[in-house]
Symmetry: C2
DNA sequence: GTCCCTTTGTGAACCCATGCACAAAGTGGG
DNA sequence: CCCACTTTGTGCATGGGTTCACAAAGGGAC
């Protein structure tokens, strides 16, 4: 999907004429030139809103209320409105938000109006799955390289790309303008690769390896750990079944002390 | 790895004798029988500590200070101590925490001393990767079934398992005691599968499909969305490069208003 | 036993996030 | 033009999470 740059819907054709009210808006803007402090929690939800909005655009909806959009994204409507208010005042009271316009504004805020070259390092099962994952290209991300250390997989063709040797890492990053690296290597190799990637100038890493990476100040790391997610589920599942069967097994320490 | 049930290290062989101090501990326990309110943020970090501790146990460390463990897990030491204090008072002042004992306590709290049967629904690239992911079995999770709707993949052998048809879903869940389901289906199928899974009695779902699932009260859902993670990275990356080049492109709305 | 050193466990202050509730602002009908 | 209705944007209260800083507790030397 390509993101166009539509005009604000509530000011369609009236190019020159602005009411006193509109003037107030425009004049107040410079004093608050887009708060450069969007809360992290809000940023994490913007992609969610974006996805819901894209679905609505496909179904042909022109506008949407905070109530409906919040329901589609699975959040509270007050939270949604507060989140959107951090980007600016893009709604119309009594009507709602213009779907296309809001898609554009969120996309711009997230930096999706440009396209990002991504390199995937580690072409095992997971790396392969990521390379084939359709959700990337559709949102401004382009897989620009697949790299691996194993001579066995180097040269394979996956998702239309040639798997290159890890020795090419720095060259690939420099030449293809890679700014985001996805780490899907074994845990043991991750830190080493991360060091090289950072040295090559990359400051955004998505890490799938189950290790805590140490990187210099200014480098952003997000991590996805499949087994951690399962462990959190197991915790809640245990609590639920405990409650049914009447408390935990009470296999606490010091069993001898209970006899007192 | 199997988690044994070691005795508390500071009370090794002295079975019957307890000092007044130890008695105080034991007696106070029932009045606070393990706070059944461990903060969510803490639960999310316990797997991290567990992983770090396992690494230390493999390297033969007997005890570890909160400072060292926190560094290994990539968190603040005060946070680590507060997190652990929610489980109970398992450290020894002046010494630190006994590695094996803490592994046992965290494992027990997370419910990893039992093993969980997991079913993976959707055997595309991602499902395949998950099935082969070693991090599951090593932590109390056992992949008990792989299910898919595509007759093309049904019957395939992946990671030692036979891919079964989605029609078997309810039977498999019931017969093999599946309590956690991993959804790796296309987005369009996810809600439908979720409904069936919930109807079959499952209350814990790990969702990889990029949709907001709606489930009844009491069902826990965790979601992992690869493209959302990338979008968050893109946001920060954009901010970083904006700062270098001196502010954003300022492609704001109402370009005509700027002329005033 | 006493002293000193190390490290835990936690009170308290602070910060961020959530959600309520409502005034402000816009639409549409008559 | 006026009124009734809808929906946004936000002030404020509440709560949870993080961090600091320190008293309490244990170990070890002598």
């Amino acid at each position: 999907m390509t993101v166009a740059s539509p005009r604000h819907p509530s000011r369609p054709g009236r190019a020159g004429r602005l009411s006193p009210l509109e003037l107030r808006h425009v004049i107040r803007r410079p004093s608050q030139p887009r708060e450069r402090g969007i809360p992290e929690a809000t940023v994490a939800r913007l992609p969610l809103y974006l996805r819901a909005l894209n679905g609505m655009a496909e179904r042909g909806l022109a506008t949407v209320s905070s109530e409906d959009l919040a329901a589609a994204a699975g959040v509270n409507s007050a939270k949604l409105r507060k989140d959107l208010s951090h980007l600016g005042s893009y709604g119309t009271r009594g009507v709602g938000y213009d779907v296309e316009y809001l898609i554009y504004q969120i996309s711009r805020e997230l930096g999706l109006t440009q396209d990002w070259a991504v390199a995937i390092v580690g072409v095992g099962n997971l790396g392969r799955a990521l390379a084939n994952y359709g959700g990337f290209v559709s949102r401004g991300f382009r897989v620009a390289a697949l790299l691996d250390a194993d001579p066995e997989v180097v040269g394979d063709h996956i998702a239309g790309l040639n798997v290159e040797h890890i020795d090419e890492l720095e060259a690939v990053i420099g030449q293809r303008g890679v700014s985001i690296v996805v780490l899907a290597t074994p845990a043991a190799a991750a830190q080493q690769v991360a060091d090289r990637v950072v040295a090559a100038g990359v400051t955004s890493i998505l890490n799938f390896a189950p290790v805590v990476l140490s990187v210099p100040e200014g480098v952003d790391i997000r991590k996805v750990d499949l087994s951690i997610e399962l462990q959190i589920l197991a915790f809640h599942e245990q609590r639920k079944t405990d409650r049914m069967t009447g408390g935990p097994a009470m296999a606490d320490e010091w069993p001898e002390a209970v006899d007192l």
